[in-house]
């Protein structure tokens, strides 16, 4: 009976001691071997996933350049309430001459 109680107390002390032995450590401790798991996941799952997606984009891009849509002067698009603070005030920041028409139409027509 006494030995069982002593064993329980020793067990409690055993659990407490690691905390007392590192009083000023302020980070979580990872279990051993978990880095290997995430390394494997990185090289066998995550990066191949990126490679497959890259292949997918490359294959789709070879499908052929689709014709750009015909220009329709919709009033709800290409809004110019105030000029942009750069350039001539009429071009968006990532303006693409071939794909982005101005309010008056494509620039390279």
């Amino acid at each position: 009976m006494a030995t069982a109680a002593a064993a329980r107390v020793a067990g409690l002390l055993g659990r407490l001691r690691p905390q007392l032995a590192r009083p000023m450590s302020s980070g979580a401790h990872g279990e051993e071997g978990s880095a290997r798991l995430w390394k494997s996941l990185t090289y066998f799952v995550a990066l191949p996933g990126v490679a497959v997606s890259m292949l997918n984009v490359f294959l789709k891009s070879r499908h052929g350049e689709h014709e750009r849509p015909e220009f329709v002067a919709y009033p709800h698009l290409r809004i110019r309430t105030k000029p942009f603070p750069w350039g001539d005030g009429n071009h968006t920041l990532f303006h693409n001459r071939h794909l982005n028409p101005l309010p008056t139409g494509y620039e390279d027509e």
Binding site: A35, W38, G49, P69, Y74, F94, N96
Partner: protein
Amino acid sequence: MTHQTHAYHMVNPSPWPLTGALSALLLTSGLVMWFHFNTSLLLLMGLTTNMLTMYQWWRDIVRESTFQGHHTPIVQKGLRYGMILFIVSEVFFFSGFFWAFYHSSLAPTPELGGYWPPAGITPLNPMEVPLLNTSVLLASGVSITWAHHSLMEGNRMHMMQALLITILLGLYFTFLQASEYYETPFTISDGVYGSTFFMATGFHGLHVIIGSTFLIVCYLRQLNYHFTSNHHFGFEAAAWYWHFVDVVWLFLYVSIYWWGS
């Protein structure tokens, strides 16, 4: 004896909160001057003072913690609360843009043609570059977890390899998004579709750049032996921020790119 008898950090007086506030004033007034009066001096001054404040303030925190040992467990606990609350505030920031998107797209007005995407808008194919972007960010979440576990296990080389992969993936995402921005047939001026698309994805891209910068700083600190296997909160904060950026993208992808097409 003049040593402190508590474990908290009583920070020495610092000019950076003031210079930070002044830089915020210069940035805001600078934007006004740039938008309305076509002058950029105030804005440039604001950007400069802002960058200088951030560099010096965070440099001082590294000095106080890594070199002077002020970050005891209770101090670190406060920093954890702080980072979590900051990220929560960012969640609310993005919620606004998602609210705007759903408000406009769930009930498209007659001016747009009564449907979504609106008339004249050809949305991006979610199964092309946006899907690649998703895989890139998800992969970077895996590699940063590898970096963290390597750090906790004391494996210096692996930690740097994993963190480098994470940073490269982040930069690749930024490159891909920038090229997407140049190749889209619609622009920010294309009605509420363009506005919601570019505000939401634009601020997300800015956060990717911020997160990548944070990770690069962590990489430089790791090079200089700042982190230990059980005390590396700067890295953890960067990792939390990076996961947050990843989650925002997932919401963007599902809502705007996929459902919104």
